[in-house]
């Protein structure tokens, strides 16, 4: 085994020495192959350039443009969205303000209407009470007058009955004589 290893090491040393002695050839380059490959590469490159790269670049450009446009649209859309949100927020705020004002105004009007109605009702009640008192006074005066009249009638009837019961022909004759005497004196 040791002998094998020694053989291998000696061959490697020999190869290194050969490479160091060859230069570029030692790199393994073949000018013909290299040139052929280079020409092939160039041809492929030209073909690709003519038929592929343009379209590829166009596609890539188009895609890039599309992406850029999309990004731009998205940005614009986002801007518009923000603007719309602002507008909506403002409209909502204005609407809330207006609603608050309407509610406040309605409440005021309602309160005023209630107050006015209360005042009107109070005046009406006062008027009704006044009218009722006046009517009551009128009715009272009328009732008093009727009562007085009835009382007088009753008194007269009672007096008639009493006098009629108490009066006789003799007393009546004295009454007549007294009346005639008075009348004579008055005329004299």
């Amino acid at each position: 085994m040791l002998q094998l290893l020694t053989t291998i090491a000696e061959s490697e040393v020999a190869a290194e020495s050969a490479e160091a002695a060859g230069g570029i050839s030692a790199l393994g380059l073949n000018w013909k192959s290299f040139l052929f490959q280079l020409i092939t590469f160039v041809i492929v490159l030209l073909i690709l350039k003519k038929f592929v790269f343009g379209k590829l670049i166009a596609v890539l450009d188009a895609r890039q443009k599309a992406v850029e446009d999309s990004l731009k649209n998205a940005a614009e859309t986002e801007e518009k969205l923000k603007g719309a949100e602002k507008t909506i927020a403002k409209m909502l705020s204005d609407a809330r303000k207006e609603a608050d004002e309407v509610i406040s105004s309605s409440q005021k009007e309602a309160a005023q209407a209630v107050e006015a109605a209360e005042q009107k009702a109070a005046k009406r009640a006062e008027h009704i009470v006044k009218e009722a008192k006046e009517q009551m006074n009128v009715e009272l005066t009328k009732a008093r007058a009727e009562l007085k009249s009835e009382t007088i009638k009753l008194v007269a009837v009672a007096a008639e009955r009493i006098i009629g019961e108490k009066l006789d022909a003799a007393k009546d004759a004295r009454l007549i004589d007294a009346a005639i005497t008075n009348a004579t004196k008055e005329r004299a």
């Binding site: 007088i152 008639e160 006098i163 007549i176 005639i180």
Partner: protein, 131 residues
């Protein structure tokens, strides 16, 4: 028929009544017919008053209506006649008496020119009116 003045008619009638007392009813009927014909029925009471005045003025005759509750005794009658004679100057008084119990008491004397109401009824009514 010519229209005569009421005073003239009254004067003539008074004269005829005194001159012909038996024709009183006939005279009154004729007077009524005259008034109706001349459409003067509304002034009949005035004519009666004028006739009474004529009778009193020319003949001293007075007719009086006397109402009492119980009727008059002679003394009351005399008093009334004396009072009427003094008040009217009549010499001959004729009393037409009526009994009205509703007067209660006292007397009412009515002549064409004056009325005396000394009834108890009137006094009560006056009293009631004054309360």
């Amino acid at each position: 028929m010519a229209k005569l003045s009421r005073q003239r008619v009254a004067r003539e009638l008074a004269r005829l009544i005194v001159a012909h007392p038996e024709r009183q009813h006939e005279l009154l009927r004729q007077t009524a017919a005259y008034l109706i014909q001349n459409k003067q029925t509304s002034s009949a009471h005035l004519l009666i008053s004028d006739i009474a005045n004529e009778l009193l003025k020319n003949q001293g005759l007075l007719s009086a209506e006397v109402c009492s509750a119980f009727g008059l005794n002679q003394a009351s009658r005399s008093n009334i006649v004396d009072m009427l004679k003094k008040a009217t100057g009549a010499t001959n008084i004729e009393l037409n008496e009526a009994v009205e119990p509703e007067l209660i008491g006292g007397v009412i004397v009515r002549t064409p020119k004056l009325e005396l109401d000394a009834s108890v009824k009137r006094q009560l009514v006056q009293l009631a009116g004054g309360i």
